[in-house]
Symmetry: C2
Subunit: 218 residues, 2 copies
Amino acid sequence: MRASDKAYAALRDDIIEWRLAPGTVLTEVEQSERLGISRTPLREALGRLSAEGLTAAGGRGVVVTDISLEDIDELFELRETLEGRAAALAAERGDAATFEQLRRELLHAPELIGGAEPALQAYYDLVGRLDAAIDAAISNAYLAQAMRSLRVHLVRVRRLAADDAERLTAAAAEHAAIAEAIAAGKPRLAEAATTVHLHRSLSHVKATHVPHQKEHHG
Amino acid sequence: MRASDKAYAALRDDIIEWRLAPGTVLTEVEQSERLGISRTPLREALGRLSAEGLTAAGGRGVVVTDISLEDIDELFELRETLEGRAAALAAERGDAATFEQLRRELLHAPELIGGAEPALQAYYDLVGRLDAAIDAAISNAYLAQAMRSLRVHLVRVRRLAADDAERLTAAAAEHAAIAEAIAAGKPRLAEAATTVHLHRSLSHVKATHVPHQKEHHG
DNA sequence: ACTTCCTTCAGTGTATACACAAATCCCCGC
DNA sequence: GCGGGGATTTGTGTATACACTGAAGGAAGT
């Protein structure tokens, strides 16, 4: 693994998991020493992060970007646009058997949610497989790319919300509805189910959202 | 201006204007010598280009990406999704006077189109101002960013088509219709007008498209 | 003649040194 | 005591040297 990849992954995780608070300035020498690499690969990592919008390269050093409540609204507005269309396209072009299988698994998801850590991870993986199946079904590299770049920010937002078992169970049912609509080849329904799911998701995030306090070092 | 910015702008223009054929491998030492800079800033430029999708960093050296006919279809599919929604949002949130003014100017655009080079540039600027006005009106940084990253590829596609005066005149009328719908505050109509415009645009591109032959150097 | 191994080399990945810009801080003058 | 100007420090931008890897070409053996 290249040093720049390692630095990118480390910094990306630190930002997504809110270990690096928004507003933190990432100095090249400091971070390169922390990660045990040189400035050159670190700069590449910072460039990638800034391209994704996780950091912003303002005048002196790059700073970790913040996510405000307005940002979350904007994020979900774009998400609704992209994923709604993606679900519709998947219903038109996707393989019914694939999504039927996913739907069946999603109906059994509540058993995973109540469980401990590994079972919960299995649930998240399942949702991830639904996303991947949609990505593959739409056969549109540009749309898939746009959604991928969105998901980075969404993971960050998800960490802000309290994902209780109740919400996760409901979300699983919503996902199952999306998979069912796609499997049935109903684009309008798939888009509507996605819209419903995203609105409920957004409501939950905004309801349980607790502002992260910035950890001012020093 | 930084050396990396200069390199980025130069390479970006070379690719967009099809002076660098798809499949061309951009070697770091070669390009850095050609542009009169060092490898370090050039690498940053190549990184940005690859992030945008203008180049792909496969194993050995980065290569200029190709745009196939399927790519154009996918590109316009995403474009329809994003710009349709953007037009609708602009109709909801935009300032009527701004778009009314743009509509009036677009109605006079045919006078510019017939003219020589500078007048044609004035027309392209006018269309660009409409795009910028929509970007500003939607007040959604993520959506605006997604559209910006798309436009790079669209400029590249536009260079493939023969933009005759007839098509440009029709396009101006379609743009005027979009501006009118936004000014009138009619989201559905604005989205529909955008859809119509993009489909006509796509048809024109595909009808007049001439495949670029790759210039194999040596 | 074909295959295989070794050599060589082109090219990237990384580290480091140097140059330059900006911000801060201290000292001197008032 | 306060303000201004210069030095110092901090950090980025760029260049270059070195290491490593993967590929291509040739030579030798079968």
